[in-house]
Symmetry: C2
Subunit: 193 residues, 2 copies
Amino acid sequence: MGLTPKGMRRRAEIIEGTASHLRTQDPGGVTLEDIRAVTRTSNSQIFHYFPGGKEELFLEVARYEADQVIEDQQPYLSALDTWADWERWREAVLARYRTQGRQCPLGSLMSQLTEVPGAAEVISALIGRWQAEVERGIRTMQASGLIRAAIDPVRCAAAMVAGIQGGVLVLRSTGDIGHLEASMEILFDHLRG
Amino acid sequence: MGLTPKGMRRRAEIIEGTASHLRTQDPGGVTLEDIRAVTRTSNSQIFHYFPGGKEELFLEVARYEADQVIEDQQPYLSALDTWADWERWREAVLARYRTQGRQCPLGSLMSQLTEVPGAAEVISALIGRWQAEVERGIRTMQASGLIRAAIDPVRCAAAMVAGIQGGVLVLRSTGDIGHLEASMEILFDHLRG
DNA sequence: CGTAAAATGGACTCACAAGTCCAGTTTTTC
DNA sequence: GAAAAACTGGACTTGTGAGTCCATTTTACG
C-alpha cells in the first residue's frame, strides 16, 4: 500500500529538514547520521521512505530545492510584462543571491549526484522552465512593442539563463556578485536596444 | 632536502596521469587505488609526494587543469586585437567545449574540493586571469577605435566570463551547447554595438 | 667509494558511514 | 476490535578506502 497521511508528513519533513541542513553544510561531508540527528529520525525511517538510501533522498532534496529556485523569483518571473516587472524580477534574483552568498544549495547538491540517473534531469527541467518563462516575457514585450522584433527570444532567454548561472558560479567561488550584476545589466541593455 | 630530478618527474607524472584519468571518470568515485593503478605508483609514492594525501593531490590537479583551460585558448586569448582575433578566440572556446562535451575536468574536480583551503583560490585566479585578458582585449580594440568608448571594459569582461561559465554549466547538465553559443553571440553583438 | 637522503613496494591499521535486520508500536481498514 | 499494513527504534554487519609503517633499493654528492 501507499503512505498514510502521517507517513507523507514524515517524508516531507525529512526532505525539508535535510534541505535546510544542506544549506548550511557542505553536502559532501553530510552523513546519514547527521541527517538522523537533524530530522530526529532513525535509520529505518530513512530507508523506509527512501529505499534507494542516501542517493534517493538527496535526489528528492534536489527536486525540492529546484522548485525553490523558481519559487523565489515569483511572482515576477511569471509576469514579465513591463520594464518595471523586469526590474523587480532582477532585484529579486540579485536579492536572493546577495543573501545566500556563496551558499548555493542546488549547486553544491548536484555535484554530489553526478552519476545518479535523474539528477541531470532535475537541472535540465529547472533550466528549461526558467528559460521558458524568460522567453515568454520577451515575446510579451515584443507583442506590446516594448522590445524590438529583431531580438531572438530563444537565444536571448538562453543567454540570460546562462549569464545568471555563470554569475552565480563566480559568486560561489569568489564571493563577488559583480559578475552576476554585470551579466544581467548587459543583457537588459541588449533587450532595451 | 628537496626533490631529485627523478622525483620531480615522477611527481609531475602522477599529477598528469591523475588529471587525464579524472577527465574520463567522475572524480567523486575515484579512489587512491584507481590512481595507483593508472599512474603505476604505490601508496608510499603518493604520500611521499603529496603529504596532504588525496586532497593535496587533487588540488594540484586542479591547478594543472586551470592552466590548461587558459592554455587551450591561446594564442588567441592573449592577442584580441582585431575582430578576426576575437572570432578565432570564440571558435577556440566553442571547439574546446564541443569536443569535451559535458565532461568539464575542472568543474567536476572543484566540486570535490569544496572545503579545501586553496581550492577557491584556484578558480578565483583562473577567472581573474581570464577576465583580465578579455578586458585587455577590449581596451586594445577601444584604443584603435574598433569598439566604441562607451563600453565599460570591466563590466563587459565580467559578463563575458560569466556568460561562458554559465554556458558551460548548462552544457554540463543538459549536453546542449546552445547556451554557450548564445551567450557569446550576444556579448559579441554588444561589443560591436 | 660510502653514506645520507630520497624514492619505492606493499602489507597493515583503522575509522567511518551506508545499509540490513528484526523486534516492537502505531495507524488504517474492514 | 482485531488483523494487516504502515511506521519506528536501535543494534549490528560490512565494505571500503584513506592513511601509516617499515623494509628495501636507488640516487646525489663529498
